[in-house]
């Protein structure tokens, strides 16, 4: 199949408006005859379900959590970008578009990114109107801060919990529709297959996680808003339940999976402390506004720190290597995430790491505390304040800005980060890859749409900070409500979808058979054993740095783990009850296939770009080296029955507006 991105004609700043003006819409009286299924209730799904219900469609919304409010969008800390230019620092729609394309290392679709930048300002207005309590200054106006990879302040935030506040905004809009009966909410339900009838997505098979009942749900269109697949690495900053199952089932039903190897490794997470670890915790990128990242200049100092003979505070200023400021003077500590992560890995691999495992660098607020302390002294007209007083006042400022993050750190690590520099290390955080979608967010299966992190479209090979929330809400509030109407205009006379058809029978049987296999397998090892093994292979061979040999080995190893899993996994309990082991088994089975495809994708992409760093392709200074002649495309994989035989299709990325250059943050 030839991939048609359906990018509208015309100049980039007119495409979306023109497109909206000319696509078909469904009349209000006909919307009542149309059913839409939305899977996932994070920013993308919650926003889409609420918006479509307001428009008059019948919506069924599904989430595996016990409430729509708990989707993992909630964990986003730092903020959301919008081209409002409130700070008068020269920001504009074009600049946000440009930064995002550049940040994505020129592997995203220009038209989609421009649209994202265009609607970004509406998002803020919308959220304010919903009662989202964004940070404000003393004049009562909205405040902004800076994020990595940009030189303006365009990030709106709500303390360190922007994701939660935005999600509660979308959730409140959703609950308003639930209250009206316009949305039927199915929480504690997991989608286990997409049903395709005559080439169109016409429903899903879902499992009621409380009773274990397998349910059929028909609809005229299905929207997957199911987030990313970072948990393929076992350890990541994702929630425990985050999974690829919905997207993977769609992939097996004909939706192409694009750029699965593009993974974002976030530079500032709390390092791994032991084998019991179940997840990793992010320390917001906003900390890099004020924190300085360093390791000791001399390897003996690093050794002494690892052995517990010295502490970070013992290292004199002159003996510290602020390696980001050294390597990237223009952006310093605010380089994009992929660059910051690789730089940390480089130092730690060279032997400069500062915790027991050798895998940690310092994120130090000493300088910021002093700077803010002096500022406070000036504000309060204090003459010759003592260093202690300065430190005290500076600490107060830092606490007000990042207090909850510092508390979280102290809880987990057991060390006071106001006294000792934080120790951080990169961790898997976000996946740029996902289901391939066209400009209308439709996958290669007609009637099946994909929004938010689950699709591949807007972030190229690397996502900039504070852009995930922007994309989720843009897709859900402002894009799909229009584009889905164009597709549904053909369905006004279709009538309700019959769930007794052969396609539903076949899909349900597949789901039931798999569940029965798990329950009757009587193996010896719990699901997590296999998940951990998979995660280790992925992290070591398809993580921050990859090479052909490692990827080839990884493919062989993953196939072995997968074989072993199907033979030897033990799932306790029954199918007709609340059974968390069974839920996990299904998710890990899908990760075991996805993992192989990710390695294959990484192996075929013979270049380095954004989050995909192939050791064979780097400059003499260790920077990522792209190959625009051969790889300025999205790789979209077609399922053929086994990840090993998947077909690779290409969508060429055309850059009419932005000029392709070597990304430089020096």
């Amino acid at each position: 199949m030839k991939l048609d991105s359906k990018i509208p004609e015309g100049p980039i700043d007119k495409k979306w408006t023109d497109h909206k003006d000319h696509i078909r819409i469904v009349a209000p009286s006909n919307k009542r005859r149309i059913d839409i299924i939305v899977v996932g209730t994070g920013l993308a799904g919650g926003a889409a379900a609420a918006s479509l219900a307001e428009m008059g469609y019948n919506v069924k919304a599904f989430c595996f959590q016990d409430s729509a409010r708990r989707a993992h969008s909630i964990a986003a800390q730092g903020g959301i970008n919008a081209a409002k230019n409130y700070q008068n620092d020269g920001d504009s729609t074009f600049r946000l578009f440009y930064d995002t394309v550049k940040g994505g290392d020129y592997r995203s679709r220009e038209a989609n990114v421009y649209r994202l930048a265009e609607v970004s300002a509406n998002i803020i207005d919308q959220c304010v109107a919903q009662g989202v309590p964004f940070a404000r200054d003393y004049g009562g106006l909205l405040d902004n801060r800076s994020f990595g990879g940009v030189q303006v302040s365009r990030t709106f935030y709500a303390r360190g919990q922007t994701g939660q506040q935005l999600l509660l905004g979308a959730y409140s809009a959703l609950m308003r529709q639930v209250g009206k009966g316009a949305v039927k909410m199915y929480d504690r339900h997991e989608m286990l297959d997409v049903v395709v009838v005559d080439g169109k997505a016409r429903g899903i098979i879902a499992r009621n996680l409380i009773t274990g009942e397998i349910e059929r749900h028909g609809a005229h269109a299905v929207l997957l808003c199911t987030g990313g697949y970072g948990n393929v690495f076992f350890l990541s900053t994702n929630a425990m339940g985050c999974n690829v199952t919905a997207a993977w089932k769609a992939h097996k039903r004909g939706a192409y999976m694009a750029n699965p190897c593009y993974t974002q490794i976030h530079p500032t997470c709390i390092p791994v402390s032991g084998t019991h670890q179940s997840k990793l915790t992010l320390m917001s990128e906003s900390l890099r506004n004020d924190g300085r990242i360093w390791v000791p200049k001399y390897i003996e100092d690093s050794k002494a720190i690892r052995e517990g003979k010295k502490k970070g505070n013992d290292i004199a200023e002159a003996d510290r290597d602020y390696y980001l400021e050294r390597r990237y003077p223009a952006f310093g500590n605010l380089v994009p995430r992929d660059v910051a992560s690789r730089a940390a890995k480089e130092r730690c691999d060279a032997g400069y790491g500062v915790n027991k495992t050798g895998e940690a660098v310092y994120l130090d607020f000493g300088a910021a505390i002093e700077r803010y302390g002096k500022l406070q002294a000036n504000i309060h007209n204090m003459e010759n304040p003592s260093p202690e007083k300065i430190k005290e006042m500076g600490t107060e400022v830092i606490s007000e800005k990042y207090g909850n993050l510092f508390d979280m750190y102290e809880n987990i690590v057991g060390e006071n980060p106001y006294m000792h520099a934080m120790k951080i290390y990169p961790a898997v955080h976000y996946t740029m890859g996902g289901l391939w979608v066209d400009y209308n967010l439709q996958t290669t299966v007609p009637g099946l749409f994909c929004l938010g992190e689950a699709n591949f479209s807007d972030h190229g090979a690397n996502r900039l900070g504070a852009s995930a929330l922007m994309q989720g809400l843009a897709d859900g509030y402002f894009v799909v409500p229009y584009t889905v109407g164009d597709y549904l205009a053909d369905d006004i006379r279709t009538g309700a979808i019959d769930t007794k058809s052969a396609a539903f029978d076949e899909a349900e049987k597949g789901v039931t058979d798999r569940i029965n296999h798990f329950l009757n397998n009587k193996g010896t090892k719990p699901v997590d054993d296999f998940h951990r093994q998979l995660g280790k292979v992925m992290w070591e061979k398809c993580g921050m740095a990859r090479n052909a040999q490692g990827l080839q080995e990884a493919i062989v190893e993953i196939r072995q783990i997968r074989e072993e899993f199907w033979k030897d996994v033990r799932v306790t309990g029954k199918g007709n009850e609340f059974n968390q082991e069974l839920e996990k088994a299904g998710r890990v089975a899908d990760f075991l296939e996805l993992g192989e495809l990710m390695c294959k994708d990484a192996l075929e992409r013979n270049e380095s770009c954004g989050g995909h760093f192939r050791e064979e392709y780097q400059t003499s200074e260790g920077e990522a080296m792209r190959d625009d002649d051969n790889f300025a495309h999205a790789a979209a994989w077609e399922w053929t029955g086994d990840p090993g035989t998947s077909n690779r299709h290409k969508e060429e990325m055309k850059f009419d507006v932005v000029k392709l250059t070597q990304r430089s943050y020096k």
Binding site: R70, Q164, G274, F578
Partner: protein, 252 residues
């Protein structure tokens, strides 16, 4: 691996209608760096290997923000420690040899689904009754800065908005009252100009739904505020009472 040995007494209940009981489980090799939930992971791993049913408990983000985890540990919602959820509770709060009691949230409006998992759908229904601003998601609204909001109002609204809907307030209250939860949402929206027009209806509708769900009355004991992982203040209950009173006496 660590070297703490613990004795866990955990509520087991096969299903909503089954009879539950406390069962004893020894756990070894607990490290002080583990979170409480990671300690339960180890126990569950062990149970599955033995072919026993693992303990069902709710959890998701494991960083204190999603509100999914919900354990009543040694008589306290989210266990010992203030301002944290169960997933943020670390084993360094316990000593080698400790006996720890783990139970689900107990309230009529939170029926047990299995073991330590309860149904908090009542909270969603209260939200659906009025926990929103009635504005469509068209995006064609006034500029976000058109209406300045004073920093104190904005900050107080924010404090209320930090509620994660975990239900610790209900679990801690001898009356199983949901007033702290309801007041947080009412307070947040009533402090913001966008939420004022429907403030009366919101207070009345949310309280009505709360009563319908079978939550008890507030008698100002204050346990909810102490156990709330986000430190939601009782002042919000006072504000809800004012909003509710005004709405009741001026109802058209």
């Amino acid at each position: 691996m660590g070297n703490m040995k613990l004795n866990l007494k955990i509520w087991r209940q096969a299903g909503p209608k089954a009879k539950g009981e406390m069962k004893t489980y020894p756990v070894n090799d607990v490290s002080e760096d583990m979170s409480f939930l990671e300690m339960l992971d180890i126990l569950n791993d062990d149970l599955v290997r033995k072919g026993d049913e693992p303990i069902a408990f709710d959890h998701d983000c494991r960083e204190g923000i999603c509100g999914m985890c919900s354990l009543f540990i040694d008589g306290e919602a989210h266990g010992p420690g203030r301002g944290i959820t169960t997933c943020q509770l670390h084993m360094r709060k316990f000593k080698d040899g400790d006996t720890i009691h783990v139970e689900p949230w107990r309230a009529q409006a939170f029926p047990v689904i299995k073991d330590l998992v309860v149904d908090r759908g009542s909270f969603d229904r209260i939200q659906a009754a009025g926990g929103f601003v009635s504005v469509n998601t068209s995006g064609n609204l006034v500029d976000g800065n058109a209406l300045p909001i004073s920093k104190p109002d904005s900050d107080t609204a924010f404090d209320a908005a930090t509620c994660i809907g975990c239900g610790a307030c209900v679990a801690s209250c001898p009356n199983s009252s949901a007033m702290l939860f309801v007041s947080a949402k009412v307070s947040q929206l009533s402090l913001l100009p966008q939420g004022r027009p429907e403030a009366k209806m919101r207070a009345l509708n949310m309280v009505e739904q709360m009563d319908k769900e079978g939550f008890g009355s507030c008698s100002a004991i204050g346990a909810c505020e102490v156990e709330c992982p986000k430190g939601i203040s009782l002042e919000h209950i006072a504000r809800l009472n004012r909003e509710y009173l005004v709405a009741s006496v001026t109802k058209e």
